[in-house]
Symmetry: C2
DNA sequence: ACCTGAACACCGTTCAAGT
DNA sequence: ACCTGAACACCGTTCAAGT
């Protein structure tokens, strides 16, 4: 059932990404097909290839949109640890806000197709904190590996219990504890 | 071209897993299809479903086999840090030993289908080191998130450069630095 | 320029039927 | 018990053709 999309008005990237996010929220990544996106937009799946080179490019934009939403601004007197924590907590929230969000963002980031803003921000925060240039990128990646890995685990766990597989439970404070471990390890790398 | 498989001898799990690993090494995860495995074994793809409930279960065994190979034994006077590092280095080597190995192991572990031995070992090492029971599992997971996340990045980077996408380079010591950050952060959680 | 409609070359999985 | 052969219900992607 195609929604009341204005006939003969060309598709915009924003429309496509918004629709993809809606479908992702409803049915998850495995059912986010080109056919589903096209059908929700009242268009043939082949029409999407006039706007994106392939599905990966489209999903890259979707990942960017997931990450762009809702990042809080730290107070001016916040320490670098508090800034880094806040950014990681927001990233965690953004990514777990959609089913399979961690899976999607992780793969797009690793393949270099979008989702690179968080890395740049974290590297910037760590550089401002005084972390040497040869360790700041590594530390930023380590933070992201933890944030995405933890979120991926949580969301897979949801899938697994849905299909009757028993896995270990995850405390709400589990993320905070792990984040504290990584931030403490980074702090030890500061000069002085 | 089916290899000289003894006719009418029932398929064993070891045969299937070995064949899957051979194909994985040759063509990567996207082309590791049920048809490819069957054809390499000289059997119809449907025959595999007599031994595994589905593809995920088969890939779970493959992930276990990848992880089971080549883990060195630490010397008796090694500190817990050295033991943990050694285990993580071996895991990193095992997982990067096959194309898309990190992707495969990560998803199987997260979905609770095999690949759980490394978690149990690391948790044990950390518990022996004196880490409290409420933080040892979290710390073990944090290590695995880093190891798998880093390996996943490296391997995706290989894919991306193959398809002409520019990404940041990764120093050989990058893994060691990140590992040091996490281990240092864990050490700060020890009592005394 | 933008989209349709139909096809191509695949997937994982199921299942009656054979031995 | 183990496997075949064929089908089912899908995929992502391409491409001539329309407007």
């Amino acid at each position: 059932m195609p929604p009341p999309r204005h006939p003969r008005s060309p598709l915009t990237h924003a429309q496509v990404v918004d629709t993809a996010l809606t479908i992702l929220a409803r049915v998850g990544l495995p059912d986010l097909t080109m056919r589903a996106i096209g059908s929700e937009l009242g268009v043939q799946q082949s029409a999407l290839y006039h706007h994106y080179a392939n599905k990966q490019a489209l999903l890259g934009s979707v990942a960017d949109e997931i990450l762009a939403r809702g990042s809080r601004t730290p107070s001016h007197d916040a320490t670098w640890q508090e800034r880094v924590r806040l950014r990681c907590q927001d990233l965690h929230a953004a990514v777990t806000g959609y089913p399979d969000g961690a899976d999607l963002v992780m793969s797009m980031w690793a393949f270099g197709m979008g989702a690179q803003a968080p890395f740049d921000e974290l590297r910037g925060l760590l550089a401002d904190a005084g972390l040497p240039d040869d360790v700041a990128p590594t530390a930023a990646r380590t933070l992201l590996h933890f944030v995405y890995g933890h979120a991926y685990d949580e969301q897979s766990h949801a899938h697994a219990t849905r299909s009757g597989i028993v896995t270990a439970h995850r405390t709400p404070s589990d993320f905070e504890t792990g984040l504290d471990i990584v931030v403490t390890g980074i702090a030890a790398r500061l000069p002085d």
